[in-house]
């Protein structure tokens, strides 16, 4: 036995084509996922008359601009053009495309795992920062910019300096109404939105082992909001059970061989990390953001902080955030009126998320308007089979098609100027959901609670007596 290795070490070594003298590695890319926003990269390779090196490893998905209503006739010509451009690039380069009318269409970070394109041990790139989601399977998955997307298209490789390693260990049982979203917001609030900058985060501990794949994806997805280059969880039986039989996953003897290889990916006993963080699950409450950065998050029972009381280097940001959010220091978060709710996105648009929200809404009415956008057409179908769509519509909320939707607003699903939205998404940045939009990030169950009362609300009392 040599020196104990981390999962990062093993994954890195398995993909390293070569390492330059300056320490930068050329890595082989097993899966490259592209979307409408990849148009800059396709333009770059077209300018140089290059083709896609590995079309069979490149998959295109319509998600960022996907209309969630009236898909057959797109009214906005800019949106239609973006989707048409992806179609023509996919056709020109012979790429599999999950188009708007495809039963497998959805958000790229929902579709990849759902179709078994995402597997443990792979290196996965996509021109989207939330590519960290796929690390939930024990993959090396990270977002890249357009120049790098063009590079992967042309060479099926990417240049990277190996990030530092960081392990976040969470132990214990999560309380009722507390989910993976809360774990993520908790650690980001604790360490800061740049707290894991330059690091690959591995999540470990009994709490993580108990999470479903959906929960692990939510957690890895949000790693980027804490500045991490990527997030990951060691593959285990939960991972294998999720993947077995998925469309593109290995079959029969290949499946057995793959599971054996994947089991060996976990960090070795005694492997050293550059940084270790320990968290107790019992410390984590249902959490909401109050500001314009994911680090500006607190338990729902907390009061909105006074900028005079926060760390001096963060005081100016806190003042600006309160001003933008239209909040007053000292007010409790709970009871803050919201104008609308949104459930969806690559962070929390999966079946388990919809079930958690429906458990709160069943038999209740929403006091505010809102939209539910399932993360994929397959999630949509599953939810309908379970009757979840009717729970939301009976409550008075709109059930719409799948896509990135109101998380990023590119498809025209926007929050109005000055409107406050309880949202299951990933970024509460100024203007993220629309110019002047005020976003509060929280779990799907907490969004459902906000819909029921029309205010930011602790979901726990609403869950009493219900099998959530």
């Amino acid at each position: 036995m040599g020196v104990p290795q981390t999962m990062l070490d093993k994954l890195w070594a398995a993909h390293e084509v070569l390492r330059r003298d300056d320490g930068v590695s050329l890595l082989w890319v097993d899966r490259h996922l592209v979307h409408e926003g990849s148009h800059h990269a396709f333009a770059k390779i077209r300018e140089r008359s290059l083709s896609v090196a590995e079309p069979a490893l490149t998959f295109a998905v319509v998600d960022h601009y996907a209309p969630t209503r009236g898909r057959s006739q797109i009214a906005d010509p800019r949106i239609a053009r973006m989707i048409d451009t992806l179609r023509s690039n996919a056709t020109a380069h012979g790429l599999q495309l999950f188009d708007l009318d495809d039963p497998q269409q959805g958000i790229v970070h929902v579709v990849g795992p759902e179709q078994g394109l995402t597997l443990p041990g792979l290196l996965i790139n996509c021109g989207d920062s939330h590519t960290s989601t796929h690390g939930a399977f024990g993959a090396l998955a990270f977002g890249i910019g357009a120049t790098e997307v063009a590079h992967v298209l042309a060479t099926q490789t990417v240049w990277q300096r190996k990030p530092k390693s960081m392990r976040i260990t969470v132990d214990g049982t999560l309380g009722p109404g507390v989910s993976a979203k809360d774990i993520a917001l908790y650690w980001i609030a604790k360490l800061g939105t740049d707290g894991a900058q330059g690091h690959a985060v591995e999540y470990a501990g009994s709490t993580i082992e108990s999470l479903s794949m959906e929960g692990r994806m939510t957690l890895c997805n949000l790693s980027i909001e804490g500045g991490a280059r990527l997030g990951m969880v060691a593959p285990d039986e939960t991972t294998f059970t999720y993947l077995e039989g998925r469309s593109y996953a290995p079959k029969a003897a290949d499946w057995q061989a793959a599971c054996a290889d994947w089991t060996a990916l976990a960090s070795d006993e005694g492997a050293g990390f550059d940084r270790e963080v320990q968290i107790k699950a019992a410390e984590i409450s249902p959490t909401v953001t109050w500001g314009t950065s994911p680090e500006q998050a607190l338990p729902i029972s907390a009061a909105i902080p006074d900028p005079a009381d926060v760390a001096p280097e963060k005081a100016a940001a806190a003042r600006a955030a309160l001003d933008y959010m239209g909040l007053t220091a000292g007010q409790t978060l709970e009871g803050t009126p919201v104008d609308q709710v949104f459930i969806g996105s690559c962070t929390n648009g999966r079946i388990e998320d919809l079930r958690a929200a429906a458990a709160v809404l069943r038999g209740r009415k929403a006091k505010v308007s809102g939209m539910i956008s399932p993360g994929s057409t397959q999630v949509d179908a599953q939810a309908k089979a379970e009757g979840l769509d009717r729970v939301f519509t009976a409550a008075g909320l709109d059930w719409v098609g799948s896509g990135c939707s109101m998380c990023v607003g590119m498809n025209g699903d926007l929050v109005g100027d000055g409107k406050r939205c309880a949202s299951s998404t990933n970024r509460n940045f100024k203007g993220r959901q629309g110019r002047g939009a005020r976003t509060h990030l929280m779990s799907p169950a907490m969004v459902a609670a906000a819909a029921v009362t029309g205010t930011l609300t602790d979901v726990r009392p609403l869950l009493r007596g219900r099998g959530a």
Partner: protein, 203 residues
């Protein structure tokens, strides 16, 4: 992509933390082809009012000569959109000085000849103070990793491989194509030792 070693220009202080890429360019402008130019979208909602008119009080609007920005920590965090870099570059910005950068942003910047110059907190505070009254002349030297404003010369941190890339204006695709043989050999070995890494044909 043209390389550069030394830049003489004008630096503006924008001492705000967490200027994320959604602020650098709001998503609604990202369907525009690059050829049309992204400069007018830079920090769009900070610079412009609801009617799209430039705000008189915003310093970037009154100093069109600015070529370097000093910003707060965690500049360029969030979305991987390279359009954020295009907006800066197309607006004539050659370097951003900050205590820290979003990882993907920094990489995108170097791929577009934009220098992400990382300074320590102390230097940041000193620079911020010297720019409090308005933009100043600046000299940035990649070789010596220094920013000079007036009499003050401040060091910055930059990965050596990124410095080489900025100085030489290297394009990664050209570099990588020289390693075509190594890539082909790697692919062959991987297909033999990890065949499961190739997607199965759809049934």
């Amino acid at each position: 992509m043209a390389g550069w070693r030394v830049h003489r220009g004008t630096v503006l202080g924008l001492p705000v933390a967490n200027i994320d890429t959604d602020q650098l360019i709001p998503a609604r402008f990202m369907s525009v082809p690059r050829a049309e130019g992204y400069g007018s979208y830079l920090l769009h909602d900070m610079r412009r009012d609801e009617a799209g008119e430039l705000r008189a009080g915003f310093p970037l609007n009154t100093h069109s000569e600015v070529s370097v920005i000093l910003a707060g920590r965690n500049f360029g965090s969030g979305s991987s959109r390279e359009a954020a870099v295009y907006a800066l570059v197309d607006a004539g910005i050659r370097a951003v000085i900050a205590p820290s950068f979003g990882d993907i942003f920094a990489s995108n910047a170097v791929n577009n000849s934009l220098l992400p110059a990382k300074v320590d907190d102390e230097s940041y505070v000193a620079l911020e103070a010297s720019l409090a009254k308005g933009p100043q002349d600046v000299i940035i030297d990649i070789d010596t990793r220094t920013v000079t404003v007036g009499a003050a010369k401040i060091g910055f941190v930059l990965d050596d491989s990124w410095a080489m890339k900025l100085i030489n204006g290297w394009d990664d695709i050209d570099l990588t194509r020289n390693h075509g043989g190594a890539i082909a050999a790697f692919k062959r070995t991987r297909s033999q030792t990890a065949g499961w890494a190739w997607p199965t044909a759809k049934e």
